[in-house]
Symmetry: C2
Subunit: 448 residues, 2 copies
């Protein structure tokens, strides 16, 4: 199945482009992508997905067979097909760096391009930016809840398709996860890999001892035994019993994994068994349906667990599988625009976000301004593509991880504690407010 | 980004395969994919994703550059690389047809293949079957709530990546949606396309009347105006005012779309305006954050809406973004196996599902049996691949839609009404229970 391509768009984009071409609406448009409102489950977001968005724009073109198919639908005029055949993204892109903490109303990306082009790319840009921002924002919460623990993405199998699994691994890594279980993500993004064994491995042997011995023999490095297939505590005893023989062969049992049952109680009893059996350095790794409440309980109750495999709850952002985001026209042919639909009105014009910090180094508030209205603080939006060319080489993931780590460190304390309520202040600069009023006066009501 | 391929798997699968090869564990394994428990938001599921699973198995092979990369990780022996280079799926597959209503514990797919092969494919098979089953099951609920309405998938933009958007369109269509807004899904799956216009189109013109006139001129067929950009009722008046001129040009206004505000109240006032303006045949289409509660309210309160664009709630299965599913070893080397982990025990052996119907034609209960233990009713599982070859050509989507429509029609009334509680009966045949007991006796506890 093609994972990319210019047909990753909605029919209405092409319908509109046909009308734009026929009515001379091909001047420069400015669209911004932003999240309208944070859901109650999120007090901040972590921007991600920009790299894939840039690559999408760089590679944007209709293949001959796509144009033939479009022609064959009978829906479009020859002028549109011709326009699409020549279409390349030669516009400008401004964006917030991946790994940046961000909030409602703050543009994460701005596209400046001829209206038909800027319109065409809407669907895939939202698709790319929304998903990785969603996952990085969820992953950051696990990182804040368990800052001392090893966190690994286990979620490809229940991610929504292949691309979701791969991009979720990337987004979680940016937000501070240690790595992933997914081979292809490791290959695509040069990320650390983690993996143990499945229950089927144990079941394929006549008993756990035999299965463990075979696995240790074949995979002696980073050896982790899965011990919950039949009876967790009994299996921990099996591990202890075989340790001397393995040690004699130079093999160290790095850890055991629990994947079911009462993880808090079992981790405590397994820790005792391992310690009493002379394996105090053998770690305990836990997995199996862990979301934030389970993780928080394990941390609060001091479960002696050293690392966590986080799957479904991470890669589907299970408690909040979508953000209320939009990509909206803010300027056309040099004139600012805004939508005023009930509950969905937007701030017009090209914008900048300015971030201020307190004396303690913590983020103290943002100001949303027009692009050239300089405010106090650090501007978050910078140009990343000029006339269709990227300004910089792709940022290494390590740099994006460092950015996210810095921002998580500098969040206000109530946000770091993941408390609900008391939203982070994002103030609207006065000139931006004035512009919104002017746009409303100009457009009047109901098609004046 | 590669959307498919043999590296869409977890590290632990390759770790296990290395150990399987070195310890002679290459005999025939039987794995089954099933949903462990239905979540409270779902009383039934609709199976989907089999076609993509078959294609994945048919095409399974490691490309030379993938093998080189694996070699370069330094993790694996030359024997494993050689085995993977030659690996093809030459096993058998048995499955439930796409579009079939199904329940917890019922295998949707069975793989019979050498243990290393059956193990390797776990991750991607779950990834494919879980997601489409999730979405078809969600889509079926919209269909049951609004059986007389046009339902269209609008969800690519907030789907979790490109593949999720495409496969969600397909799964929703199987479950009874009329079509999609996604161009590439229409091309891939030959599905009907729907689309109107965006707010940006309106905003790019100086007023709604001018925008509508331009759009009608360029896109006169299936003409639908988006009327909520500024003031919905005022825009409906604009539509009425321009209708005679359009009619004179031979253009019919097929519909208007509402995308924000109180859709129930607005649809009623817009209906009045259209009717009073001589446009009784102009339909009303609604979109904008509609999930089941909103749809149910619109139906109950007789909102005069003819069709709905369903986006995020459909393509993320927002109220339940994952199912508790598994792919488990049920037999190895001719001996039945089961996992007994707390809360996650499975039924061993190769299984069949038998579905009985009452006199009223409604489904009355299923029996889960061993494969050759013939029970009353219709067997749901049949062979779809033999020695790596598919038994039949891909089923046309129309046939899968018909299957789903038939099953939704025949659900018990409380399930059709989407009532919570009173689960559908799935009984375990006595010989299967006996086998589970025998397996437990054989494996004892804790690695006996």
């Amino acid at each position: 199945m093609p994972a990319d391509g210019a047909l990753l768009t909605d029919l209405y984009q092409l319908n509109m482009i046909q009308a734009y071409l026929e009515h001379g609406k091909t001047e420069t448009a400015v669209f911004e992508f932003f999240v309208r409102n944070l859901p109650p489950q999120r007090q901040f977001l972590v921007a991600a997905g920009l790299e894939q968005a840039i690559v999408f724009l760089k590679n944007l073109r209709f293949a001959p067979e796509e144009l033939d198919w479009l022609k064959g639908t009978g829906r479009f005029g020859a002028d549109l097909i011709e326009y699409l055949a020549a279409l390349r993204f030669e516009g400008d892109v401004h964006a917030v760096a991946e790994g940046t903490a961000c909030f409602a109303d703050e543009p994460l990306l701005r596209i400046t391009a001829p209206l038909p082009v800027a319109q065409l790319v809407e669907t895939r840009l939202i698709n790319l930016l929304h998903f990785q921002t969603l996952i990085a924002s969820k992953a950051a919460r696990f990182v804040l809840r368990a800052p001392e623990k090893l966190l690994v993405d286990f979620g490809l199998r229940r991610a929504h398709g292949a691309e979701a699994g791969l991009l979720a691994a990337r987004a979680a890594y940016i937000a501070g996860f240690a790595g992933t279980a997914t081979m292809l993500a490791a290959r695509e993004f040069a990320m650390p890999l983690y993996g143990t064994m499945a229950h089927s491995f144990i079941q394929a042997f006549d008993g756990e001892a035999e299965a463990f011995a075979a696995f240790a023999d074949s995979r002696p490095d980073h050896l982790v035994f899965l011990i919950d297939t039949y009876d967790t505590e009994a299996a921990a005893q099996v591990v202890v019993a075989m340790a001397p023989k393995l040690a004699a062969a130079g093999i160290r049992i790095e850890g055991v994994r629990l994947d079911s049952g009462d993880l808090i109680a079992l981790s405590k009893s397994v820790r005792q068994i391992l310690d009493a059996g002379g394996l105090p350095d053998t770690t305990i790794f836990a997995s199996g349906g862990i979301d934030e409440p389970e993780l928080a309980a394990m941390i609060t109750q001091c479960a002696p667990i050293d690392g966590f495999g986080i799957g479904t709850s991470l890669t589907t952002s299970h408690d909040c599988p979508a953000l209320d985001c939009a990509y909206k026209l803010q300027e056309y042919a040099g004139v600012a625009r805004r939508k005023r639909s009930e509950g969905k009105s937007t701030w017009p014009g090209r914008k900048q976000v300015w971030r201020a910090y307190g004396r303690d180094g913590r983020m103290s508030g943002d100001v949303l301004s027009l692009e050239h209205d300089v405010q106090d603080g650090e501007p978050l939006i910078r140009q990343v593509m000029k006339s269709g060319n990227r300004m910089d080489a792709p940022a290494p993931l390590a740099a994006l991880r460092a950015r996210a780590a810095r921002d998580l460190q500098h969040l206000p304390e109530n946000l770091r504690r993941l408390e609900r309520g008391s939203p982070y202040p994002v103030n609207i600069a006065e000139p931006l407010r004035r512009l919104a009023g002017e746009v409303d006066l100009r457009t009047g009501t109901g098609g004046a």
